[in-house]
């Protein structure tokens, strides 16, 4: 099975959308080659605004372009393209309900060797707290393409979290997204294993490991962290009675916390949270997943702890 990073979908899909006639613009902050928005810029040089190393200006300019009409995608890395310009996202883009799609790449510890400053672990929390913005965390290249198309199809702000880390292709090019978006990838009876982004691949591997131990895990890909597919999640949980969430993000404010909030209201269920509880550090992505317990073994351990 070939592996690709979700970020590779960004520039290529915007080119397709523009070729199909969509009024697409992109703004980046000196990271267009890394985010792949340069691919779009190469095809449509007058539609990519690279503002230099100035993320606040990137988000402000995106808002201004959106106010003249058109759909605007922003880039940069999640650490900067979300954190550095949170105020612009909150007060200008979201409050004014502008047609800006915030699409940073390089989220999570799987950024790897660049270390803690570059490993954004709080962006899902920052974004899902904002009224009016929808949050997508694609698990593979094909869902990343579908997420971009979905974002372009809806009016108003959307956040899409892209990764640098190449992951297995779980879906194929026919996949289409809609809100709320969650997919049962593997049915099971003992535990609901909810994962998003790069952790979906790890969760699927964990389900194999658990099967060898006689535990039947239902694996659900949470593509839209906001809105959550509440009915799908609750139906799975009603069946299994146990929930483990896995994400390359801090557990305090991420997808798991969102699921916990849902379940606390609708069907309180014992849970475990796989995710980050500290800043990251430098190492390869694989080494970091293992070190912080975000790999398949770590997820398996969390499930066994819950079921014990």
């Amino acid at each position: 099975m070939s592996k690709r990073a979700t970020r590779e979908a960004l520039g290529a899909t915007l080119v397709e959308l523009a070729q199909e006639g969509a009024d697409i613009f992109a703004v980046d902050a000196d990271l267009a080659r890394a985010t792949t928005l340069q691919v779009f810029g190469n095809a449509y040089p007058d539609r990519l605004l690279n503002v230099g190393i100035a993320e606040q200006d990137m988000m402000g300019a995106a808002a201004g372009i959106a106010l003249t009409g058109g759909t605007v995608f922003t880039g940069s890395f999640a650490a900067f393209g979300t954190g550095r310009c949170y105020d612009q996202i909150r007060n200008t883009v979201c409050e004014s309900h502008l047609n800006v799609k915030v699409c940073p790449t390089h989220a999570g510890i799987t950024v790897g060797e660049d270390g803690a400053t570059h490993q954004m672990l709080e962006d899902i929390g920052l974004m899902r707290g904002l009224p009016g913005v929808r949050v997508l965390v694609p698990a593979d290249y094909h869902t990343a393409c579908a997420a971009i198309r979905l974002a372009a199809d809806v009016e108003g702000p959307v956040y899409i979290r892209f990764s640098r880390f190449a992951t297995a292709e779980i879906y194929d090019e026919t996949i289409k997204g809609s809100f709320p978006w969650a997919t049962v990838l593997r049915e099971g009876a003992d535990v609901s294993l909810l994962a998003c982004g790069v952790e979906v691949e790890q969760a699927l591997q964990a389900a194999d490991l658990l099967a060898a131990e006689g535990v039947s895990a239902e694996v659900i890909d949470i593509e839209s962290v906001k809105p959550l597919d509440e009915d799908l999640i609750c139906a799975s949980v009603a069946k299994t009675g146990h929930v483990v969430t896995a994400e390359d993000h801090c557990v305090a404010t991420g997808m798991g916390a969102a699921v916990a909030g849902l379940l606390a209201e609708r069907c309180p269920t014992p849970m475990r949270f796989v995710g980050m509880r500290s800043f990251g550090t430098s190492a390869s992505a694989e080494a970091l997943l293992r070190h912080f317990g975000l790999d398949a073994e770590g997820i398996k351990a969390a499930v066994l702890d819950l079921l014990r």
């Binding site: 606040q56 402000g60 808002a63 909150r90 007060n91 200008t92 004014s96």
Partner: protein, 295 residues
Amino acid sequence: MEAVPDGSVRDLRLAANDMRVDVVSMIARAGSGHPGGSLSCVDILAALYLGGVLRIDVDDPDWSERDLFFLSKGHAAPALYATLHRLGWIDDEDVASLRTLGGKLQGHPDSNACPGVEVCSGSLGQGLPIAVGAAWALKGKATEGRSSERSVYVLVGDGELQEGSNWEALMLGAHHRLDNLTLIVDQNRLELDTAVDSECTLGDLRQKLEAFGWCVFEVDGHDIEGLLGTLRSARRVRDTRPRAIISHTVKGKGVSFMEDNVSWHGGAPNSAQAEQALAELAAEREAMERGEGNE
């Protein structure tokens, strides 16, 4: 500077006086707000909106070919609301509802609630980057032959220029030669706590803006005739640089006890103070009507 007919200047001065009455009345009624920075930019807004500088359709705030104006110093919302009131885009009832539940006139401008407001503002340092993006897009669209005449204006406070995001946008606007963009600085020299110069001075603002690649004008921000001439010159000058107009103003202009007084950045006049302020504005109006002018 271009000549402006006398009659229209007199009308604009009277309109600015009406707007100051609105500002004082609505803040007094609301019991909170920012009178100082609202009163300092009233004449600028009167010249822009009522003096024929901004391309707008009075009958349609959403006209697709309108110029874009962004009030970056969102706390001066009452001055913008007073302008929209003159245009008839909001009514007396709206003006009476400033800062109340369900009202169009939020404490800081809300584009979801109020006609004629382009974008939500209030977090300082955001208007200029927005304006740069809008001007860049409009210039691109002009190249594509889709639109050509629209210009972009943004009003910032001088204290607000302490926000670094402005300087990012100043570089970008000059880099892209956005000659369809005009930055107006309401330089009233005071911020919330104290004087701009005693907290973190902007130094020689004209020199800085010029060094950043902008075509800079300066004007007395309470001289309607000068404002009209400068705004029109800035729009028409043959220069590929974006324009900046440093507008020298007095915070709290038009109300003696608020003028140049930092304690009137935020706060509402009590009824006696409001009465005095309105009496002063009435006297100013009377003098204008007698033909004495307001200089």
